[in-house]
């Protein structure tokens, strides 16, 4: 465990100094900060658009950071040959991989916390929140995003055990898009009228792909018209789902990585 933590800590320290990530983060923070200026786009819906926009920026920025951060996680170690100094120590490959992953997730969490903090600040300073519970409601959404991005990071760590960073970037991005959109198509693809040859693969894909859509809980905050039931159960469920799925990806990644010649 110490070994994993040591690797995670080093990875985190390095990640939060990566210039490309900081630039992406800066863009995200800037967008969140200037979001109130864009509310003119939708008179009478200012609050809706402001919430939607800031949460959207946080989500998009986090997704880009999650992928950019993780696609280079292992390839960089190999290129710099630091992996040899580590693996020639009493460190098992799975410890190395999990340490790298946890470090990346930690860095992601820090960056997302920063953006969330800025968002809350914007809402307070611009007087867009009624009270603390209003802010709390808003702050809960990035938690779901964080679980979502941890899953995304696991996807791209898994791919990084066999794919080059560029290929991985598109693979992970593709999985994220499909995992986000699939529900929209799923209902159409599994209609009564569809032939089995469409229905069966659609169902299989639906079961297999990581379902990112279910983490998009912002709608209930953007349009708080209905009473949300079982919110805690959803968050617990999302965590269980994410942890299970991340475990699968880590196991598969470890198997590939163990066989891999680095």
């Amino acid at each position: 465990m110490n070994v994993i933590l040591a690797i995670a800590k080093t990875t985190l320290g390095e990640a939060i100094r990566r210039r490309v990530l900081l630039v992406i983060l800066l863009v995200g923070v800037l967008f969140v900060a200037i979001a109130p200026a864009l509310e003119a786009l939708s008179p009478r819906q200012e609050l809706t658009v402001l919430r939607s926009l800031t949460l959207g920026v946080i989500q998009l920025t986090s997704a880009v950071i999650a992928v950019v951060l993780t696609v280079y996680l292992i390839p960089n170690e190999i290129e710099r040959r630091t992996i040899y100094t580590i693996l020639s120590k009493p460190v098992r490959r799975w410890q190395f991989m999990i340490g790298k992953y946890l470090g990346a997730v930690g860095a992601l969490g820090l960056m997302m916390a920063l953006m969330t903090g800025i968002m809350l600040l914007v809402f307070v300073v611009m007087g867009k929140s009624k009270d603390v519970s209003d802010l709390a409601m808003l702050a809960k959404v990035p938690i779901a995003f964080f679980i979502q991005m941890s899953l995304l990071a696991a996807v791209s760590v898994f791919f990084s055990t066999f794919a080059s960073p560029i290929v991985n970037f598109f693979l992970s991005g593709g999985v994220y898009l499909v995992g986000t959109m699939f529900d929209s198509f799923f209902n159409v693809l599994t209609k009564e009228t569809q032939p089995l040859i469409v229905k069966i693969p659609a169902t299989i894909v639906h079961v297999i792909i990581p379902n990112f859509q279910s983490f998009n809980v912002q709608n209930s905050v953007i349009n708080p018209t209905q009473v949300i039931q079982n919110e805690t159960m959803l968050y617990v469920g999302l965590s269980v789902y994410a942890v299970t799925y991340i475990s699968i990806l880590m196991i598969l990644g470890i198997i590939v990585f163990e066989y891999r010649e680095v």
């Binding site: 080093t10 100094t85 120590k89």
Partner: protein
């Protein structure tokens, strides 16, 4: 005591478009405990690949590899060995001291004093709180050495430890390696910097195309020096009469240089030249150098296998190709 390193018919092959390439081909090595062992060969000979197999970072295609009596890759032996890769880059945001602490924690060592004293030992005590990004190449290499000593290893793998360093740094590193031997450590150096190796190694193995072409104690391998005799006012006829299988003769405007093995007596050559009216300028005995041995071994091996020097050969990892200049 068992051998520190032993390989038996070790083979590592990669598949490529043109067929299977054996980067390591039936390699047999024996490294005694407590010696400095030089692992020599031209670029692409399979040195790094062999080390990676011994570390368990990659897997052999066939054959056996044992390190400290256990099968290579056994995580237990990693506690007793260490590895300094060729031109490593460390996490640049960290200071030398942080790097040491990080690597120490991988062994479960949380001894700050030990980290500090090792940095002192490689003469980085004053710079240990500067980030690695500000270190020179030599300093980085010394950090690498320091971290490789964290676990007080019995066996050190050093891959091109002096590569790319200036002469002063060379000497510093060389002195450190000699100290390791005094401490009873086994040091396995892979290098093509022959002058360094020659000064410190007890034994060497020369490999070419994945195969050992020479292996043994340096004193034994380097027996058979040569004697160089230079004379003026010689004729072509004299020069021709001196030539035989072991004797190299070069002639230029009446000046002749004769190169004979030290098993021959120079007296006969001197007599022959003087008898023909030549004038001896110098008789210089020359010890055999590792460079000669290396060239000889590689050239003989290439000739025997019908290879021509200067062809394109695969790199260590079998991916790209480099011009072989040796």
């Amino acid at each position: 005591m068992s051998l520190a390193i032993e390989t038996k018919d070790l083979v590592k092959s990669y598949k490529s478009k043109s067929g299977t390439i054996n980067v390591v081909d039936k390699l047999n090595l024996q490294v005694e405990p407590g010696e400095i062992f030089g692992f020599l060969g031209p670029n692409g000979a399979g040195k790094t690949t062999t080390i990676k197999i011994l570390l368990g970072v990659i897997y052999q295609t066939s054959g056996d590899a044992y390190v400290l009596g256990k099968e290579a890759g056994d995580i237990e032996i990693h506690k007793q060995i260490s590895y300094l890769p060729e031109k490593p880059y460390y996490y640049e945001h960290m200071t030398g001291f942080e790097i040491m602490q990080f690597y120490a924690s991988l062994f479960g060592i949380h001894d700050k004093d030990k980290c500090k004293s090792l940095l002192d030992r490689v003469n980085l005590g004053n710079d240990m709180n500067r980030p690695i990004s500000q270190y020179s190449k030599g300093m980085q290499q010394r950090v690498g050495l320091a971290q490789s000593l964290l676990n007080d290893p019995q066996l050190l793998f050093l891959d091109e430890p002096t590569g790319g360093l200036d002469p002063i740094a060379h000497i510093e590193i060389r002195d450190l390696i000699l100290q390791f031997r005094d401490e009873g450590k086994t040091v396995f150096i892979s290098s093509h910097e022959l002058s360094d190796v020659e000064r410190i190694c007890d034994r060497v193995a020369i490999i070419n195309k994945g195969e050992v072409v020479a292996q043994g104690r340096l004193e034994e391998l380097l027996v058979g020096g040569r004697i160089e005799i230079t004379a003026n006012n010689c004729t072509d006829a004299t020069a021709s009469s001196l030539r035989d299988d072991d004797t190299l003769v070069s002639m230029n405007h009446g000046r002749v240089i004769v190169d004979i093995p030290d098993s021959h007596s120079p007296n006969e050559v001197v007599k022959t030249i003087q008898g023909a009216g030549g004038e001896i300028v110098s008789v210089i005995p020359r010890r055999k150098r590792l460079e000669d041995l290396f060239l000889e071994a590689v050239t003989v091996d290439n000739r025997a296998k019908g290879r021509t020097i200067g062809t394109m050969t695969g790199k260590d990892d079998g991916t790209e190709a480099d011009e072989v200049t040796a």
